[in-house]
Symmetry: D2
């Protein structure tokens, strides 16, 4: 599909060529605002005092309608924004067009977009980063490392030193950057106040860097807010998984056997959706506790090998790699559906599939491909090219649940900016529980809920403040 | 959206101008075939003997991918086909294009399409009709009546004699037909062997005509096959309602209050889907038995007036008219969603809405409109222009469940054709239970099920044949 | 457990010896009355006019608390009652005690109780029968046949002519009756106005007799009222199956594999309950339509042989015989639970189990037995001695759903009595739909439901009366 | 009901007088063993080496069949046991009888039983405590405090100094103990190795004492094992709540309005059970996060005041006090059911109810009482006298889920005993995650599950050991 934008002379920035796309995006943004009470509450509460005034924020996060509401919330609080999509397949053109026309610079081409989003001109970089999957954070860390290497040993980053396609891009950007300015990432690092990170994968890397002592700037772990992980991952996927399946391929879910690899929050949401739609769900798990949870819900727990030849739908939710291999795919039933809603596309061995001798790919429509194996003439249907199928084949999580996640993002950005000179944050942090509870609270009214108030006697009896927080930090919800 | 077809000189037939559309349709038809084991079993069983050889079949039924598989099953059995869509909003362009290129004449313009599908040239009409909503059946009955009127009294059908827009079209076609050939519908009637009817609405009219003694040709009631009504209506809607909602507008269903008007099979399927997706469902009902069923599932039963101002989603499933009136819509919350999955678009007072003084319509995308009331500035979102939202906003029922319905259609057509000279059928009939059971049976293998066989002692004990049918006619399933 | 009653000199009538039992029964009857709005509505509507005044009613139906409310409703309408339990294992002692003390003669010993309930002294028999499983109906029909046989050929009924233990009892009663009065059952037949029958099994026999021309008196088929079969069988079992399991043996249902033999209304209710409690359910079926329904709910359909060695719970719901045989039981896992909620205890081969060489029975508590096979030392747990486990191990269906069934019973009795001299009823009938809808309607208020009223335009549009009935006779709900 | 035991001369120990009770208990214990694979795995793994040899364990925990399997697992590992019930209403007589006959001293009278369970004769006290609700822990801490007070100031503990009935008993025991031996609790404290605690309430107090610096011995917090809280509280209650309701009063759950106060793990399990049984559930909550979770499941969140007059069933699950007050109860519908499955009976204002002027209590059966208010003559039904209804009216959680909890208890006891001289434990601890995962793992085989194994590449990719633990400490499941 043609983008409703064109390349500008200065690079690959979105520039709206089709105003009807921007108009369409604007209409959907307006609808989404009604569904995102948390972000609207942030605008109401923090907008007048322009708390983010002067802050340059670079975002690297799927450019969708809900992200548009996040971007415009940050601008409403005074920030300047440059945005790129962390996954070029997930970009919604009309959302990008509306934002590009009305609110912020948007970049969405493979390879160079992250670099452009980080490029604030002469003074180098952003003050704050909103990151998803840690791409921006990784680039700066690797850039700084490469610059040191270059300074010390004159060694230039070499993209051919890795097999990983994503990392090759990172190294290419860095190599090219070195030529421009051998201190580029150092300058960026110096200016940077901090990052708030949206995903498990990104957070895992942050904790590793914290443990290794290589973390260069403070970070707020948004994914581990209860209102993020236990809502977005669980209820978001429960909604967007069937949406993705139905839009990609109108297969009846009822009566089918569906294998869900992984029964974490994402897997739980997906398994619930499939079960409720009438599928017989089978879970694969490595963790005995999650396995026992699946069993308590009446879901069989087996290995992929046990069921590979009899299931109709295969879904990866693990955040790990090499879950469904070509050898699995070859044994599947004709027209078996294979897709991923975990994190990276390496949950499914897409590379192995693409390079399988004699395999034939027939694109039914964008993001829905039929792959025919030469020996058996059977085919499988792969959704979203192995990337997140709910973003690739549908529109991602619905706005209401994203409002929970993104309200945490806004609060995290506010917190980092407010404390930018105090040294309060130096490592990786989760948001304190009272802010987590606040995020939930601003979403209740929209759904017509009324909370009960503790009396002071009751609060004393269970040893919590009347106004909360109500649970100990280790509470699991 | 532009059709990938063009009008032919001879009228409004589909002629493929965009081969990629036809190719895309063909790919989706191939996928659907795997999901429609009943139709494929018909091809395997009845194809070799070409049982429908010589039969001209006119179909008036939503032109979708699944319908394409039905059409090609009928052609595989030897029939010639002319097809029109019973609802111009539900036509899937790529499905029409593939059929038009490969298999049959397809018509899909408002007004004249039915007429064209019935026009088999010099010898007047079809041998058999596949009808949905009884449009073709109505046209012929009204045509014959008008011709008699004309012959007796010289009176010509007058489209202005009715307010009903659909019926105006019928009368216009008849009036124009009278000029061409004042015996056109009489000739059609004489040739016609019979009709198989897909919907409650159409069947109700057939029984009325049977009761009045005005029925002109035999009919098989397909909707009351268990494998149709209790599958397509129930499980089909359970699947396609959320699909339609999600594609039209990415509203999170969880947490919302959804009002389902009517708790028949369609309402039951929709309520189940909404409940499972996390909505709080409220049902309105006139029938105390259906109301009590809703209550047993934990669903509140109230009147529309009770909840009109607090619900988020309103859905009509009644098959009746005037369910949601403008006065209801005016009291709804901002951004309330209003849609219909019943039969006609008169369940929602679209006419009243369109003519409401000062109302403003903003089309977000095709079939998703925002209507703003002038006094309150609040808006509601109407899906599918009040027509079937699962067909208008999504792709209708999934192929597997349509395979049940359409296998009954094929069997009904075969039966009518086989007995065309025996006089076996003269009125309205449902398929006998053993055929109903057969339809179910051919769908089990695909889902990996294994049936238990009765011993002859057991069969005797419960007084049924070992091979079935297993239930008395009044059994409710 | 000792009965809180003693045999009277006149036979085996309940006579209360333990007033505390009767008091306890009375308390539970009072609670049940609040849950049985249909019966209370009958008392309010028909009590003042004493429409059943003068009618002698014999009931043969499980003597439970809910039955007590039925009995007292019939007496409130003017009837005289003699009651026996159709299944001696289901009698609730405190219910029987309260009724025996306050309202009616109650009999509950094996063998002779039915005879006693039918014995109204010098004038022979009852005017009306409330039957469950057709025991009373069978006895009279067999009695009449035997008397004719005796009169014509002097042949006396011979209990040893059959292997069926239940039928042996029938023949014994008849043989003994012949000695007393060789016209006993003829006299009974002559007086009898009709019977209303509660079960599938009983109704099936009635239709067979109607077809054979051997039916001796009119009958109303209560089981096929929608408000009976689709409520009592479905929602009643959904409630009472887990109740029976939990009271009999505190096995955790979550995580277990449960096999439900039969997916009719009873099977559907049981499968739903087990699934919701977290079991993985597998259904066995002979009927492809019911099998396809199970699949649409995500339930696997296999044969008993496929799963006999891996399931934890086995349940029969078929109404057929020889479903679980000893050869199945021998292959089950240690501590597998085997039970029946169908109709007769011959769904499970109890006789085969009891006579299996070397088998050992260990009674854990009444109605919960462990059977140890000699070869394998494995044991299975059989509930309710193979009889209805929800009545044997728990208290049967809850009162609210029984109120639906029993309201139909009362209406059927009223109808038969009212038309006793008009000849309106001669065969087997179901209650007309408007009465079925009325039964539902009187249960809505208790649950806080509000019905929508049709306008006359809407009623005309769908061709039904404004006041109902709203559905055609073949509607399946 | 009479206990099947008698008081011994030495006090109030269980001594079996009715062998049939003990036999019955033994049969049920044998059945439970099959359902408690975790405890049986402990016997197999740790029994041969007699790791608890020499350890005296005092348990204060509901004396049920599942507790009997725990006790006999501890004895199988070499321990000596003295046991009392932490709640005299929950004692299952046949379980107590079997244990008293076969395995350990059991005490179950109000007031003095805990004292007796702690009394190991001349050498004062136990080595280890298994505690539920912290009663034993509290008694020792208060005893030590009182002895110090007595030593320093000669002041004797005064039961009249408190209104709390439970605490009065504690002070009475301590006062009487002071007379016997003014160093009794000091000696006990010195011997004591540690305690493992089963409940939220008990653990909260432990953390308070740790924070205050008053904790006298190490403790292991078992409730916060995932395999305890997220299984026992959630799935245990999902099972035992309907069990308690059904046994206490055969009310049909379907169609009713049920208010669940609190949506923590217990509330989640109860709400799920009620919803699945067909009730319309309304939740009351103080915590916005838990409230939002309820909404995402389609459950309305309101205050008790909003719904008190229209609901049918009221259930407290909060662990807080004063949730349902007499003023609420007076406004309820006739026959409304009120019960508690939280922790203490003060969730429901039982004292207020008992002392309400003119109120009348009618016991229907033990633990099921009807309370009639004088003004309105309406009554409510209170289950379990306001105590845990699943233990009072049914048999508590099913054995399988208790096996998870109790396996953690055994592992905690082993750990405390093993490290008794190393000083490893000094404060309050949760079990390390690998032990938590192990508890889950030993329960999978029974349910036929198969785990997937990580490859070493995969383990490295997500930075966990191949053998686990697989999740970070803060993971919420």
């Amino acid at each position: 599909m043609d983008l409703a934008v064109e390349k500008t002379s200065s690079g690959r920035e979105y520039k709206v060529k089709d105003m009807s796309q921007a108009d369409f995006g604007r209409l959907e943004i307006e609808l989404a605002e009604v569904e995102m009470p948390g972000l609207m509450a942030c605008r109401a509460e923090f907008g007048p005092s322009q708390l983010l005034k002067g802050a340059r924020i670079t975002g690297s996060l799927h450019m969708t309608i809900t992200t548009a509401v996040l971007i415009e919330t940050l601008t409403a609080l005074g920030a300047s924004i440059r945005w790129c999509s962390c996954n070029i397949f997930s970009t919604k053109d009309h959302a990008a067009a509306a934002i590009a026309r009305d609110s912020a610079a948007v970049f969405a081409w493979k390879g160079e977009t992250l670099q452009r989003a980080l490029d604030w001109g002469i003074e180098a970089g952003p003050d704050l980063i909103v990151d998803d999957g840690g791409d921006a954070t990784l680039l700066i860390h690797e850039g700084v490392k490469a610059e040191e290497e270059y300074e010390k040993r004159g060694k230039v980053a070499d993209p051919t030193s890795t097999d990983n396609a994503e990392f090759q891009i990172v190294l290419t950007i860095i190599r090219d950057g070195l030529k421009e300015d051998p201190k580029k990432y150092h300058k960026m690092m110096e200016r940077l106040v901090g990052v708030s990170e949206e995903t498990t994968t990104g957070v895992k890397r942050l904790y590793q860097m914290q443990a290794n002592g290589t973390l260069l700037f403070p970070a707020i772990n948004v994914i581990d807010s209860v209102t993020k992980r236990k809502f977005d991952n669980l209820y978001g996927c429960r909604h967007s998984l069937p949406d993705g399946l139905m839009r990609a391929i109108d297969v009846m879910i009822a009566g089918k056997v569906a294998v869900v690899c992984g029964y974490g929050d994402v897997g739980k949401g997906c398994a619930a959706a499939l079960k409720q739609a009438g599928a017989r769900v089978i879970v694969t798990e490595i963790d005995p506790i999650c396995a026992l949870q699946a069993l308590m819900e009446g879901i069989q727990v087996l290995t992929l090998e046990d069921v590979v030849s009899e299931a109709d739908i295969f879904l990866t939710t693990t955040g790990n790699k090499d879950i469904i291999m070509v050898n699995h795919m070859r044994k599947m039933k004709n027209n078996a559906i294979v897709c991923n809603i975990g994190h990276f596309d390496n949950e499914i061995a897409m590379h192995g599939l693409e390079t399988y001798p004699g395999v034939k790919r027939i694109t039914i429509k964008p993001q829905t491909d039929r792959w025919v194996f030469p020996e058996t003439r059977t085919d499988i249907i792969v959704l979203g090219e192995g990337r997140l199928m709910n973003l690739g084949c549908a529109t991602g999580h619905p706005s209401f649940v994203m409002s929970c996640s993104f309200t945490s993002q806004v609060i995290a950005q506010l917190e980092l900016w407010k404390e930018r000179t105090t040294g309060k944050y130096e490592k990786v942090y989760v948001l304190p529980k009272h802010l987590d509870e606040k995020v939930a609270a601003v979403h209740l009214g929209k759904l017509g809920a009324k909370l009960t108030k503790l009396t002071s006697e009751q609060a004393a009896y269970i040893s919590v403040p009347v106004e909360g927080p109500y649970k100990p930090p280790h509470y699991r919800y």
